[in-house]
Symmetry: C5
Subunit: 375 residues, 5 copies
Amino acid sequence: MQHQEEEDDIQDFYHQPGEIPGQINIQEDAVKTQIRLVDYNETYLINKKDITPQQCGEFLDTQSVSWVDVQGLGSPEVIEELGRVFELNSLVLEDVVNMAERPKTEDYEDQLVIIARMVMPKPKGSGFYSEQVSFVLGKYYLLTIQEEPTRDCFEAVRHRIKHNRGIIRKHGADYLAYALLDSIVDGFFPVLERYGEKIEDLEQEVIIKPTPQTLRKIYKIRRQLLKLRRAIWPQRDVINSLIRDSGNLISDEVRLYLRDCYDHSIQVIDMVETYRELSSGLMDVYLSAVSNKMNEIMKFLTVMSSIFIPLTFIAGIYGMNFNTEKSPLNMPELNWYWGYPLCLGSMGAIAIGLLLIFKRRGWLDNASSLKDDNP
Amino acid sequence: MQHQEEEDDIQDFYHQPGEIPGQINIQEDAVKTQIRLVDYNETYLINKKDITPQQCGEFLDTQSVSWVDVQGLGSPEVIEELGRVFELNSLVLEDVVNMAERPKTEDYEDQLVIIARMVMPKPKGSGFYSEQVSFVLGKYYLLTIQEEPTRDCFEAVRHRIKHNRGIIRKHGADYLAYALLDSIVDGFFPVLERYGEKIEDLEQEVIIKPTPQTLRKIYKIRRQLLKLRRAIWPQRDVINSLIRDSGNLISDEVRLYLRDCYDHSIQVIDMVETYRELSSGLMDVYLSAVSNKMNEIMKFLTVMSSIFIPLTFIAGIYGMNFNTEKSPLNMPELNWYWGYPLCLGSMGAIAIGLLLIFKRRGWLDNASSLKDDNP
Amino acid sequence: MQHQEEEDDIQDFYHQPGEIPGQINIQEDAVKTQIRLVDYNETYLINKKDITPQQCGEFLDTQSVSWVDVQGLGSPEVIEELGRVFELNSLVLEDVVNMAERPKTEDYEDQLVIIARMVMPKPKGSGFYSEQVSFVLGKYYLLTIQEEPTRDCFEAVRHRIKHNRGIIRKHGADYLAYALLDSIVDGFFPVLERYGEKIEDLEQEVIIKPTPQTLRKIYKIRRQLLKLRRAIWPQRDVINSLIRDSGNLISDEVRLYLRDCYDHSIQVIDMVETYRELSSGLMDVYLSAVSNKMNEIMKFLTVMSSIFIPLTFIAGIYGMNFNTEKSPLNMPELNWYWGYPLCLGSMGAIAIGLLLIFKRRGWLDNASSLKDDNP
Amino acid sequence: MQHQEEEDDIQDFYHQPGEIPGQINIQEDAVKTQIRLVDYNETYLINKKDITPQQCGEFLDTQSVSWVDVQGLGSPEVIEELGRVFELNSLVLEDVVNMAERPKTEDYEDQLVIIARMVMPKPKGSGFYSEQVSFVLGKYYLLTIQEEPTRDCFEAVRHRIKHNRGIIRKHGADYLAYALLDSIVDGFFPVLERYGEKIEDLEQEVIIKPTPQTLRKIYKIRRQLLKLRRAIWPQRDVINSLIRDSGNLISDEVRLYLRDCYDHSIQVIDMVETYRELSSGLMDVYLSAVSNKMNEIMKFLTVMSSIFIPLTFIAGIYGMNFNTEKSPLNMPELNWYWGYPLCLGSMGAIAIGLLLIFKRRGWLDNASSLKDDNP
Amino acid sequence: MQHQEEEDDIQDFYHQPGEIPGQINIQEDAVKTQIRLVDYNETYLINKKDITPQQCGEFLDTQSVSWVDVQGLGSPEVIEELGRVFELNSLVLEDVVNMAERPKTEDYEDQLVIIARMVMPKPKGSGFYSEQVSFVLGKYYLLTIQEEPTRDCFEAVRHRIKHNRGIIRKHGADYLAYALLDSIVDGFFPVLERYGEKIEDLEQEVIIKPTPQTLRKIYKIRRQLLKLRRAIWPQRDVINSLIRDSGNLISDEVRLYLRDCYDHSIQVIDMVETYRELSSGLMDVYLSAVSNKMNEIMKFLTVMSSIFIPLTFIAGIYGMNFNTEKSPLNMPELNWYWGYPLCLGSMGAIAIGLLLIFKRRGWLDNASSLKDDNP
């Protein structure tokens, strides 16, 4: 249902006034929690599915990198158990579970918490999925928590770990966190690409054939760009603060990579703002184009009416029933030999005269010619 | 009365030029002052209603947390007595009583004064109540002052204290102040949710069936979002300055909780600004939609007029009374055997020709089809 | 004359290029200078009118507070004498006399110069008076200079001094300066209140009955809010810089009071900006409302024209003069027994059919119904 | 030619890509260079015209103030010679000659270079001249370079030097630089005054009689205010940086005067921004006023059409030629005794009914009445 | 194809989510890589074409300046070899090859990497080429990398090196980098000049003869200015950070030249912003002008209709067939002696009356007269 779809576009999850801070509220439709573990260093790799938090606990203190990948938030007891195993602050747990937090980062003594927002284009239609991903980065582990188990943009990173591509297996958990963050930021590009294409289509449509549909599409794009913007701006700040003040959990080399990621986030912002300006310009163009179309319609009506109204008036004159026999002044034209031809002739002359006036005013131009024109 | 309701929307209480600073002006319709006291620590709880300021005084210096909850500002002598008991600066008293202060915080030596603004959705209709709440935080007490005794958003906190839920009974007065501030900030969400729903309704209405009513609704929402915005922006600054410079009355742990509250206030601001942009976009859409509707009307008029005007002209021609007997040139068609059918036939040809022109220009499309379309 | 009135709205006094700095230019219509002196401390009070600068000089070094209140700038020799008595810098004198300075503050060694702007609602009509007030604050004296002797917003302060209300007689010249500044800032509220009322009236007018008058009123309000804004913004900066860097002429206690005054100035700014946004929203509403009204007019025209144009065409058909005797094909209907009733019947059918079409399109709704609707 | 005039409004001189930095490009229409020297101290004054750079050189190291006033840039060899005499950096020379630099200041060891922009109202028409003035301030000399010899706004300063008015002869070259800068800043006021008057005229015109001319005038004002804005904003920064970081070439006393000049530049900016807001508001008003006018036209058309169309239809009915003899049902009204008066009467009744409807809708009001109204 | 052209206007190259950082992705249509070397000092000059990276390597450590100019990115093995020879970080190589980076600068220990964006006007049509140029500045060498071998804006610099013009041969690699950057910044001016001319043309067109074409042109200009803006803003920051924090690879003297280049970039930004404001103003003007034109059309229609509709009605009256023989009340006018002349006379009187009304309302003015008017 379309209305439903738009509804979750605009409304965020929101905090109940007065609720106890650090409390975990599971949403009704949440999916059962699944935990995947990838433990690796340069030479070895373990990959486990559907394990329990306790089982994870064994890997946390080994020097190999342990990526605990939690998907689905439907099992509060598992989440709480995770909180105990990873020694999470209750506020952190709340943020992780409430799926509408603003991207942010918080530095606890030996943990770095990052809340990020991941977008993915919907396979059909025009929208995109927007999902929160939380990171808890420790010295030798990375915990990631996401809501929806069926989709994310981390496959390429998993593939790089599995097949030992690039330098990911040579670095620690901080590099892994960077690689995932970078996937998230780069994940904005395919979504934006789609809006770029749409804006281009609309640019054609809005001038050549503006309809109320066009208007709705422009508004929808503006709205979704607003949503993207709300997701990417704080993300940029998160990355920036990771580069600047993230303590010793992030090595200097990874900081260098984060600068690259930061540049990408700026580029996303640049594109979002550009598209916003373009779509806002399109609204102006739309309004002007609708006025133009009205002008065209009015011109047609005016030309038609203005030509035939005087002619009809003349015809009306000679349709009057004044009695020609009572007076030689009463419509003697009706009895002239050339009466009818003269009448038709003067009508033609009037029509031609008016057409000339309209031509001089440019009201006879075919405005649709723009379609073939090379602007 | 509706006009009345809008009036108190826009107008603030204002300061009389030249009035003595620190003077208490009681508004005429103010309600009698009532004082409630909750005194608690982890193990014990006292709950008193309708007590006097002097009675409160006894609890202030005990190490248990004393929450003095003042409601209604109609009894100036009680207010002044409170001022004496709590040793309030006269400027503080003035701010507390003048119910249209901007949210702010001021740090007196051993007291922290916070002026906040609480919003609550009206049970019926579209507006919201907006009420000032003042906090005076001391080492072992919290004084809260609000105008209206019948409603506030503190019930959940009272419940947590009464039933010892969460950690509130384990902490001091600073945590209580945080819990109430958090209730106030989270209290913006239900109000915003309502506007979110309204904006969604208007998004449908504005394209499918724009009326002057729609315009009025959009303007009203913009206006109330403006009001919300004025309430939440300084609140964010208040919380931020509590986190940064609030002296030693607020413990480091509570400061951590306040950061969470700060995040919520940012989220409120985000939503307010998003809704403002959406409602401003709706105004553009409205204007375009009205133009569209005009186009549709004009197209109909133009099609009808342009088809029948030439036909009527032809009928007018053959309604002329030129005397066919005086000249063979005078409308001989009238006497032809096929005259009438030929005339009707040419009329039909003209009508079909014009319809084809209109079809090519797209003026015969039914613009209302958009209702069923999947955009 | 209205044009005249608007003229002094928009144009400032301006500096002649190349003129000698510190030069005093008296405007032609300036009023004769009058000097009032109030000298007081907690126990004694002297009140003198129409004295000379020299007479003032005697009071300056006594420890009682001397308020020298100069009104009218028409006597350059008095002004210059004042400059000598108070040892004013020539640039200060120029600023004091040129009545269109921007509010600012300058710190000379043992004098603090404050240029402020005072607004007062005009007794009739919609505008407000805007007048410059200059302060020169010394250790034991305050010199205030204003242009217009007949009105200011200092009466309440004079009353407090005379009748020893509040704490004004217990403090020094810095408190007096604060009390006057506070009067000036609070003086913006009654002016703003008026615009608040006007905006509310316009909100009704703009949707229900928009006329060119409405447009003019909206524009006028925007313009005057612009003027208010230019007056209050720098005033806020003045007060802020008084709080922060005003040397030892202002005591810490008065600084506390100035913070209160600063809060009021922020509140004025808040209201001005809100009203500006509202009035700018009103302009959008106006444009939409005018379009709406045009729609209504066009709908009426279209309904009337579209119904009668085809009917008139049919009547035109049967008004043709084809000769029914020459051919059985020539309008045999004219001679049918049921010809006329059938003709009228088909006309009625067409009219009803068109009305149904219009009804389905919603063109028969009465748009004015909004007046009684509860939005 | 008007087009020509607008062209130089918008286009700046621009730098050729890849050109050698510090190269002097003389524009083709440049005027022959003339040098004037004024050398003065408190007691003596020398005034020379048409001297050579070498002759100037002799005066530079004397302790009297030497003002070398260069006008016209058409003699590159003179310019280069000047560069040698004053030991100018090649980049400085380039900036001085390229007449479209942004105002800026640069601090070389014992020279201070200031690029300023001077505006002067055109004697006729609406525009203003905009010309670059460059200052090179040394310890005992000031070099000023301008493009156009026939006009500048320095006459008042020359007069003050010549007749020893004010304190200019008592101060050094830094005071002279201040005096000229102040002339330049104050020179914006007469230009702005003109736009203030124009905006006031347009305020009348735009509501009472909006024409396409009005639109063009508004656009032109906006454009020229944009140009003024580009000139004054960097100028303010220049003065500000002179006050703050200009080394020891500027004495503390002159710095005080520069603060006054800075205040004036802020005032200019204030006015420019206010006028920009007003003219942008005028554009909105224009659009609304045009829509209003269209409404008025449409109302007239609708009233005329809607009244006569039904009447003409009735007349058409009774113009039909149904044969009354063939059937008593065929238009018996034609043969009634009261037929014609009844017909006319019903027409009148319809017309009156429609007029009443229009009156109730307010379509008969004369919108032009606003001209006489007192808003 | 036009659509294609616009497509690459708006869409950037974008990063694949999850791709390995530092990976080189060659675009399919990339051109074969060519390397040019210019090695020079004040007295000697070597110029080599089509050499290999290894051959370049020999020149890097000599004290003469080596400019390695790489064009075309189609040969990944050459690029990688370059990376090895110049010891480039893998992230740098990625940035250099991905042709849609934002301008930025990064400081590696003994290398300074600058990503810049070069624009060049297209020889035909209205657009411009936009191409990334990367600089790697070492102590004795400068590596520049661009995508497209056939065009750049460095010819003037090459010419200056070859013919030893200016001071370029006397300075090091940092001066060369400055000279090229300056060419890039100055290369914005010819592109902007084109838009300046177009805006001027549109200013004429939009008021005198607005068509949908005009609308499209305005939108296109806004869009391309947006693109220019995105290119120049970060470039300014790059130059600024070079001036402020670029370590010891850039000498103080070159820093001075960079300040000049910085001024030019500010000037470009100024012009871009001015043109953006002007083109946004043009959109408003366009909308107003279209409304104006509609007014003109409606006035014509209204005048024509309003005059002839009553006349046609009168003619219709006397075309009715009331039987004058059955009653003396039935249209006796038809049998009057002066019937017909009286009828025509009253028609003429009505027409003249209506024309007078229209004249008073100003509906008969010829709005096109503005073309010849001197505004």
